[in-house]
Symmetry: C2
Subunit: 267 residues, 2 copies
């Protein structure tokens, strides 16, 4: 959790991620795309604001796509653009936008560079189905492309392929001011740190201050994270936090890399 | 992706997960709760149907809680029940239900067993705030409890604590028929397998058939997953799939453990 820093400005570019996949909901596959996209967008100055995971049912996908694309600057989807009968994302996107969808000659041309003519079967050509008016998003791993329709970026679910698609589309996205952050680690439970943190938060209302407990070697500790787009203000707040922690005798550690705690962390 | 098996029956118990946390959306912390809860619920006969991740803003939490609790049998939330100023989940849940919230004597009694009187500060007592009418969910790791209000289960975000809370609440949940699954691995890209898989799916409409590509040692392969609550039907469909794969010369491998592919997998 983090609060503060709610000041919104016209420079803020927001995004949502929609993970499409029964395999995530059944627990069989552990998602690794959400965290990757979250970090990537933060680094380029796009604020990830919501994530949803839905089953591969057309109604669910259409509903989520329409809810999220109207609410945020961008929507990124992962999953469901392969060649099998259960890959229904492209058609669902076309339905959400009420656009026709058919085999796209640009996609076919790209896929011809990878597949021998005999292997570019009707089944594989399902992967060239792209809604009318969409731009191609390149896939340097296995050729079959993703696409971008208005503010919706449709990517594969295989992490390696999703990652190259994100690299391809990133230069086309508008971005805002980068969110900067500083992390301070304290080997004390949150309850000890809370009163001082609250005071510092009141002094710096434009800096988001988050407190994230972790559980390590059978003890609770806390990572305190300050986030702000203004570097000078961030440093001032960080200095204030550090001074408070020292005064209270909490021995702060500087860390800007989250430790890989054996039991993880999360508030 | 998986399709088929859409037959719904009165025995189906559904759930959603709501992850509350800026730290997940910023990418600083990688969520490990979604996958854990998904697998746990599948194993006890509850169908996870949707996941959302929202920022720790009261309006967002209230909106998501009300959307999800009315749509599914259960809603499980993680995160935001600590002692710091940024932990606002309990109050947001009370608001979503329009219930009063205050320090709960049952929670205080539990926390007294862990904290010396002097250390059970006003700050820590924030963790004893529970909406009126909620049941306690025990936390054997660090005492401060979660709670269950009607069909909403509110848990901590630290994975180790969330896990013991899930163990505590599980016996109180109604469950449906367990979803059973069989996985077959083929060292061939999805495009090769798709036509045969489509035929088998048409023969067994009540079995969900999913195709999940993976990328390993620079080659694409496919895990085929069959899911069904009827064990006999599942075995029949599995035998049919296996026979098809052998006839096509695809050398199926039996596997019911998803391999840890270096590049992961996901459709």
């Amino acid at each position: 959790m983090a609060r503060g820093g709610k000041k919104n400005d016209s420079e803020t570019v927001t995004a949502a991620v929609l993970v499409i996949g029964d395999e995530i909901l059944s627990g069989r596959t552990k998602d690794r795309n959400i965290g990757y996209i979250a970090e990537y967008l933060t680094n380029i100055g796009i604020r990830l604001s919501e994530v949803r995971v839905v089953a591969d049912e057309e109604d669910r996908i259409v509903e989520a796509v329409n809810a999220l694309r109207s609410k945020y600057s961008y929507l990124f989807t992962t999953g469901g653009i392969g060649p099998t009968h259960d890959d229904i994302t492209a058609d669902a996107i076309a339905k959400a936008f009420d656009r026709p969808i058919d085999i796209d000659e640009r996609a076919v041309a790209i896929m011809r560079t990878r597949y021998e003519p005999g292997r570019l079967t009707e089944t594989r050509l399902r992967m060239a189905r792209i809604p009318q008016g969409a731009e191609i998003v390149k896939n340097s791993v296995s050729s079959a492309p993703g696409f971008m329709l208005e503010n919706v970026v449709v990517m594969a679910g295989v992490p390696r392929i999703m990652q190259v698609m994100l690299d391809d589309v990133a230069p086309r996205l508008k971005t805002g001011r980068r969110m900067l952050s500083r992390t301070v680690r304290v080997e004390r439970p949150e309850g000890d740190v809370a009163p001082g943190l609250k005071r510092i938060q009141q002094d710096y209302l434009d800096v988001q201050m988050g407190s994230y407990p972790y559980f390590e070697k059978n003890r609770l500790g806390t990572n305190l994270v300050l986030r702000c787009t203004d570097a000078a203000l961030l440093e001032k707040a960080h200095a204030g936090l550090w001074r408070m922690l020292e005064e209270e005798g909490f021995a702060p550690h500087a860390t800007d890399i989250a430790p890989e705690a054996p039991d993880g962390e999360m508030t």
